[in-house]
Symmetry: C2
Subunit: 464 residues, 2 copies
């Protein structure tokens, strides 16, 4: 008798497990079907790119983006509110010229000032150039070699790295810290090779930061073709000069907003599962991949839930962060308010790696949260396989959600295929047309599927 009961119990358990599996399979299929046939993410992206356009923090575009995000989310979420954020207000200005000057000729070079760079003054800067490949070289060269010169950082991204974000990480110190490293040795300006794996004529901007006590000198990005040309020319003529003229400047900080929208959870309204992208973008393109894609992905999670009548147990919160690019003040503000008010985040996901074909997720968190989270999500690997979603790894979550790490929030980065990302990143070709509709929709479905599973089964992960 006992053995019969045991057998029945086992059969029952197996059958419940099987039916849960089938149910989940069916729900993921529904999510993908809906995303590929009725999703609004592509038209939302068109609207964000074309109606709003570039939206650097402090700009009119950023103000419009906040209005846009609030309006789109009001049609979907239970509640939408704006969270005040003070943001930098850097403006590029009208003038942005650069030329390579040899004895024989003057050749224009395509550049873009880096975010927070000061201008050159009306007269511009004309000086000889010292080519370097790392920050370390600066100290070795010292004032005797650098004083009165323009320092040209020319270390390329490492093409052999399969994950292009690793190649970016290995290079970006030149951009973020080049000026503050070279300034103390009397350099007049820095020119930084664009973070781009292609050879083309597009300068890629991005943030750079001055030290608190170091002199501020102009900092600009030069295209990869421009960098190669300058490097070649320097070999022929080490005394050539470069002329830079920039009218960019830093205005006083401005008030802006994170846009926060919730679908309130039925069972655990106070436990938040957060999905996010950032609303701000650089000013050169339309911020389509960076981070229009993450913005519309995050909106789409709520939207698909509504369309499929998924009523979440936890509160599903979409945060469109302001000022990721040259902040992240929006993320700081959100994390501070979360800490102050004791908001409980069951998990936080960020999409900020473009709108490409989905590959998987990377898991992050304080202590061993990343490992526990990975292990937990791996149980669903087979559910994702039919959609080509196969990468489940420990790794970076995202800049914005990263600030929730010390609140022990399990963090998830959405990982699309990385090969094309840096073709567009922070450059003027990061426009709506660079995003493929299906790839974007598959990303939205992938993220929604994981959020669905996390909500259904809960996330009870705590740091050791």
């Amino acid at each position: 008798m006992k053995s019969l009961i045991t057998t029945l119990l086992i059969l029952c358990t197996v059958s419940i497990q099987l039916s849960a599996q089938t149910e989940d399979e069916q729900m993921l299929r529904k999510i993908f079907d809906e995303a590929l046939t009725n999703s609004k993410c592509y038209s939302n992206l068109r609207s964000l790119c074309k109606d709003v356009g570039p939206r650097l923090s402090g700009s009119e575009g950023a103000d419009k983006a906040v209005v846009w995000g609030e309006k789109v989310l009001r049609d979907i979420a239970d509640t939408v509110w704006l969270q005040d954020v003070m943001v930098p207000h850097w403006v590029r200005g009208e003038k942005e010229t650069c030329a390579l000057i040899t004895e024989d000729e003057t050749i224009p070079l395509a550049i873009s000032a880096l975010g927070s760079s000061i201008g050159t003054g009306e007269a511009g800067i004309t000086a000889e150039v010292v080519e370097v490949f790392s920050l370390d070289q600066i100290e070795k060269l010292g004032e005797e070699n650098l004083k009165g010169k323009i320092v040209f950082f020319n270390r390329p991204m490492e093409a052999r790295l399969i994950n292009t974000f690793d190649a970016y990480s290995g290079c970006v110190d030149q951009r973020s810290s080049g000026a503050r490293t070279a300034a103390p040795f009397g350099a007049l300006a820095v020119l930084v090779r664009s973070m781009n794996l292609r050879d083309d004529n597009l300068p890629h901007t991005g943030v750079q930061r001055y030290g608190d006590d170091t002199k501020k000198i102009p900092a600009v990005a030069i295209s990869t073709n421009g960098a190669k040309q300058l490097s070649r020319s320097l070999r022929n003529d080490p005394n050539l000069k470069v002329y830079i003229n920039l009218s960019c400047k830093n205005n006083p900080d401005k008030l802006s907003y994170n846009v926060v929208a919730d679908i309130i959870g039925s069972d655990y309204p106070d436990e938040i599962i957060l999905v996010s992208g950032h609303l701000d973008s650089w000013d050169l393109g339309e911020g389509a991949h960076d981070d229009g894609a993450g913005t519309v992905h995050s909106i789409e999670v709520l939207s698909l839930m509504r369309q499929l009548d998924i009523r979440p147990k936890h509160t599903i919160r979409c945060v469109l962060y302001m000022n990721e690019e040259n902040g992240p003040n929006g993320a700081k503000k959100y994390a501070a308010e979360s800490k102050e008010k004791g908001w409980k985040h069951a998990a936080a996901l960020e999409s900020d790696r473009g709108g490409f074909s989905p590959r998987g997720f990377s898991f992050d968190g304080a202590g061993d949260i990343n490992k526990k989270l990975l292990k937990y999500v791996e149980q669903w690997e087979e559910l994702f396989a039919p959609y080509g979603v196969h990468q489940f790894d420990i790794g970076f979550g995202g800049v914005d959600i990263g600030l929730l790490k010390d609140q022990n929030v399990p963090l998830i980065g959405f990982v699309p295929d990385s090969q094309r990302y840096f073709d567009f990143h922070h450059a003027k070709n990061d426009v709506f047309e660079a995003v493929n509709k299906r790839e974007l929709e598959l990303g939205a479905a992938t993220i929604t599927s994981l959020i669905y599973l996390l909500d259904k089964y809960g996330v009870k992960i705590e740091a050791n």
Copy 2:
């Protein structure tokens, strides 16, 4: 003592296995490194697209492509030869116009004749339109509804299918068999919705085949936007007319060539491992993804082996097939000569799904060869994982190598990400600029890696 010997033997075996694993890991790393830093596949593709250009069988472009392929391969392979192939010689001609005519207005529609379509004659065809969604509908509608009409096949590709080739397979009968199905019922011409998952204005051409005994009627592709517009207009005005004027025609067959190049194997010179793409393309674009990518992938396998000083045991043969698009006469000729001469193919691989980020391989073959081949290759799955290559499935090998199936050749299709393929397929935007350098290079490295492993460990797979 015996147990000591056993232990030693086990240790020895384990250590040999480990070192083979490490050796293979290192070799794949070298292949990927070389492909990402010194590969010629991207510049070869530029040359094929820009110096040669479109290369439909029978065209001057196709003749130039043969010369191009032979020249490129002469610098790499031990032997290069041309295999005679008689190919169709269809020409689009100058005139290709279409208009939607209502009582109020005449609206031009973007069309492209389908390959092998006859022209309309000078006066063109003006007739009412019957919209259908499947071949089955034709017989049901019958002569009373179709006689004197233009049949408009408007079944869209199924967006819900994750593999876009499945969506293509589910639709392409309209294009390949629309005309021969509708002609017996008195239809004057067929208009076929382009095989494209996007909404845009580009007609996508492709092959269509007349029946041996059926009347030939003109057959054209209409863009997806055009198809939607026509469908809408028909709802408002079922009696609207469409005007089509085409000057395309079929000329007598012409002599052309497959280009065949070998690196002779050191141990098994008579056992061939074949890699292939097709050299011909449609005439509208530059055939960059279809199949410039497969062409340069296949060349690159030999090239990377040379650059890395890999001396294969088997003969590695690169075949650039002629006339895949409206044939496949090149493949037929190659298979026939193989059968006649008893060539032994250890395996054959085809790359004809574009130059996108690699995902994996599909395995094909007579009887249970596909399953055995899959099982054999799966032992190397972990070697491919660091490169994002994760799909190893039973599936279609390729049109050209498919003709070797009845010679019991194990067949392998290279599988890149499929999401963007039909944005470009057979349309004028299939140009060099649509291919990403890194994605192309990663594909070349992925294929080369598998060919390397197959050569090193051999392929002893036979049909049951």
